[in-house]
Amino acid sequence: MKRELITDAVLVSNYIKGDENSLGTLIKRHKQKIYSFIYSKVYDRDITEDVFQDTFIKVIRTLKLGKYNEEGKFLPWVMRIAHNLVIDHFRKNNRMPKFDNSTDFDIFSVISDSSLNAEKSLIKSQVEEDVRRLIEELPEDQKQVLIMRMYNDMSFKEISDKTGVSINTALGRMRYALINLRKVIDKHHIVLTN
């Protein structure tokens, strides 16, 4: 007895009408061709698996939404979807080059996370607070110049304009402010770093 093969078109039509088994038959019938086609482009089993899955997700959605154009043949249509997804994959990978870290060279030895961790940021804020307290101990004129220069980021020209003293005087006050800060730090054995 000759077994009649149900055509793809019939299976697709049955699937659209709600026969879920038809999809199983279609996948079973074409999975090897589609999978091999994808693998021949990407040469990676995991990526092939992903693209294969995405291909059929697209197929399922298109069929269920009634957007499938029955003029074309089923397999070439699926192949075209797979082909487009392979292109998408390569485009995405070019934009975001991946580093697989499988060789001896460790990428993390040359790049580091520049942001501070919780401990370091705590230490940083403590140090900044200590420095602030030390600055408060300075004579008023030196303190004023130091704050304008270091915290307000003003130039010595701007400082001299604002305080009404010459640039040289402002420079001198800054110099003495730093000398005095160092003295206090040395005298009290203050450790400002970890």
Binding site: L23, I27, Y35, Y39, E49, F52, I60, K64
Partner: protein, 49 residues
Amino acid sequence: MAKLYIENSKNSETLQPREETVNFLLNYSQALSVINCSKSNLKFEALLN
């Protein structure tokens, strides 16, 4: 008879998707339903478990 000096290619293992992938697709298909909104001519997709 002449000896055949052809090795079986290692790639001859069938390239096909994992069973989990196929099962996932079949389950996805069963779970996906499209709701037709006839008045506004809109279609909504719903994934039902």
